[in-house]
């Protein structure tokens, strides 16, 4: 399974070299994920914010500590960039990786992503964060480590986290793989496989 996942991601990464030179591309070290729609390297200084807090003034301690969506208010133009993804290749967002920097000024390296035909503006995949005044970069790969800590009963089982996550498993148990119930799954599997 992990091989399949890695294979799918590698195929995606290797598929179509479509790197765009964006306004903030200078100095960016990100080289992978080349088939993403509208892919554009972006290295910039920003303030890390909890988006709900930034927009409404309804704030939480530590920006929600990984449970709220995070944004980056870019120093150069004041734009709020939504951080949608971290660097990991197993369905992980950016919240856990950015929450420790809540309210801090950082430099981030990553990709702006999104096809203008589908998305009105691009979202950000953050690969690395550097605290202001530090010369060290932190890669954004905290998510799975945090998941293991929060799910000790599931950790250690064969396969990636999403095959063993208790909440995901409960939902699949409730509505099935297609979300349409057990009968729909049974019919689909008989006809498709």
């Amino acid at each position: 399974m992990l091989r399949l996942l890695i294979g799918a991601v590698l195929a995606a990464v290797m598929a179509v070299p479509a790197a765009a030179e964006g306004e903030f591309a200078e100095g960016s070290q990100v080289t992978g994920w080349k088939n993403l729609a509208g892919r554009e390297n972006a290295l910039f200084k920003a303030k890390v914010v909890d988006v709900l807090c930034e927009l409404t003034g309804e704030c939480a301690e530590k920006c929600g500590a990984g449970n709220r969506h995070m944004g980056l208010v870019r120093e150069a133009d004041g734009k709020l960039i939504l951080a949608a993804k971290n660097s990991q290749a197993s369905f992980n967002g950016a919240t856990v990786d950015l929450a420790p920097y809540c309210g801090q000024n950082v430099t981030v390296d990553g990709l702006l992503v999104g096809d203008p035909a589908v998305a009105p503006t691009k979202v950000y995949q953050v690969f690395a964060v550097q605290r202001e005044g530090s010369d060290k970069w932190a890669k954004t790969k905290r998510w799975t480590r945090t998941w293991k800590r929060n799910n000790p009963e599931a950790d250690g089982k064969k396969g990636p986290w999403f095959r063993h996550d208790p909440a995901v498993a409960a939902e699949i148990g409730r509505r099935g793989w297609l979300g349409l119930g057990a009968e729909a799954d049974k019919t689909f599997i008989e006809e498709f496989y």
Partner: protein, 151 residues
């Protein structure tokens, strides 16, 4: 120009939530989607990463903390920041409504090209009506493990 923006950003930084706004009351009808796969194209075309075909992957992405959106019939995507009083929406909060078509009352905040939605009340949930598995199977193809499909 960039210097001007930088100066403005510094002023706003000092005052923190200076850009916080009242928002606009809206009624939204649309499908709950996984926004990363929809925007990035990493798993395929937009029409293949919605509905029943992508339901399992949408569960994974939502649980992983990727923003969940509401895709309206006109193609507008609303990023969900709060759900019926709960601001902790990055994680398991929205698993039970993934891929459903819902109707909601809420508050819309627009900022720098993105629509952010505070869902105050879900007034209707029509369940999963977008039967994309009939055209695409499951996306990604490994969504249902071999131990289940018998492959």
């Amino acid at each position: 120009m960039r210097t001007l923006f930088t100066a403005a950003a510094m002023v706003l930084g000092v005052f923190g939530t200076a850009l916080a706004t009242e928002g606009e009351r809206v009624q939204v009808k649309g499908e709950i989607i996984d926004t990363w796969c929809y925007f990035s194209g990493v798993m395929g075309a937009p029409e293949s990463v919605v509905g029943s075909a992508h339901h399992t992957c949408a569960l994974w992405c939502a649980a992983g903390g990727i923003p969940v959106g509401v895709l309206a019939e006109d193609g507008t995507v609303y990023m969900v920041l709060k759900w019926e009083g709960d601001g902790d929406v990055a994680g398991n909060t929205l698993l039970s409504v993934q891929s459903d078509v819902i109707e909601a009352d809420g508050i819309l905040h627009k900022r720098d090209g993105i629509n952010y939605l505070i869902v105050e009340e879900v007034v209707a949930n029509n369940g999963i009506t977008n039967l994309t598995h009939e055209d695409f199977g499951v996306v990604p193809g490994f969504a249902i493990p071999k131990s289940v499909t018998g492959e």
